[in-house]
Symmetry: C2
Subunit: 189 residues, 2 copies
């Protein structure tokens, strides 16, 4: 039949995708520890035990969600000293949930393997570019500057997604970006 063409109950790639999406959201909202596979399964409308089957376990799903959601972090790599660069980054980060990567990197080992994987992503996508910029500006402590800038940005992004600061949390990306780029740019030029 052409009507029910290739419609299984569901395709495995679809289930995988739903799990990845739900996992990314929940890990962003609650963090790794407080998110249970049952939560993820429920939101994805997929049986939780599929997580073990498809990804190998909760930790592997987390890594997969990390990789999936980290792409917009710097794609293209952001220029953190320009308001436009920061604005683009903030909006990409807001659209998809890239905060798990930041949490994993910044937090003392939620899980050692997960942390190092997250750091690898963060290093190549944020610290590296900033370091080049600082080096181009003639600083000998370029790496330290780049790491400080990255850490500061991580703090700001995380604070925005948490509901901690009311002004910062409710301000739009467009309002925040100029100030953030002014802040970060101070160390890069």
């Amino acid at each position: 039949m052409s009507e029910t063409t290739t419609v299984r109950k569901r395709s495995s790639v679809d289930s995988r995708e739903r799990l990845l999406k739900a996992a990314g959201e929940l890990f962003t909202e609650r963090g790794y520890e407080k998110t249970t596979v049952r939560d993820i399964g429920q939101r994805a409308d997929v049986d939780p035990t599929m997580i073990a089957r498809y990804f190998g376990g909760k930790a592997q799903l987390y890594l997969a969600a990390l990789r999936r959601d980290t792409a917009p972090l710097s794609d293209p790599p952001a220029d953190l000293s320009s308001a436009d660069g920061v604005l683009g980054l903030l909006e990409r980060v807001g659209a998809r949930g890239s905060t798990p990567t930041l949490y994993a990197a910044v937090r003392p080992h939620e899980n050692a393997e997960l942390q190092s994987a997250a750091m690898e992503l963060l290093l190549s996508r944020m610290v590296g570019p900033s370091e080049q910029k600082a080096r181009a500006a003639g600083y000998s402590d370029a790496q330290l500057r780049a790491e400080i800038v990255t850490a500061a940005l991580a703090g700001i992004v995380m604070s925005r997604t948490s509901n901690a600061f009311d002004t910062l949390g409710s301000a739009t990306s467009a309002e925040v970006a100029p100030l953030v780029s002014e802040l970060l740019g101070g160390l890069l030029r």
Copy 2:
């Protein structure tokens, strides 16, 4: 006997103190979720069930440790735009573990009550002073600036205690402080 004078097995204030100390350390090292009352009891060399008895439960112990460890955050309140102010803050934070407060504030609700308590501390001790400074400098968006500065500093402090960034993590407070104050000061003057 004068030898075993007022030495009970132990005094209750002593046990309380040991629990608070161990809790502060462990919450700093591992975060709230991953720290178990059994861990705390073992490090404090006090029975874990005493936590429930003395403090009411794990959450209350966390709050107590928070209050205890947050004092050095700004005591005296730090001038974040001066290298000395930042240096003093970094050293006080390093000496005792004030990072749980930052985590609690920045993270999406590890626990709603805990988060709001941590935020209250952070607001009065860091955002407030920075906001005054920004207002004195004539900015109309003083609160937003203060919150950005606080969030950035939180990210830097957390990154230093995690082992995420190798350069930032191994740099001394004296090396980091000038750069951080340069970074933060840009938004406050």
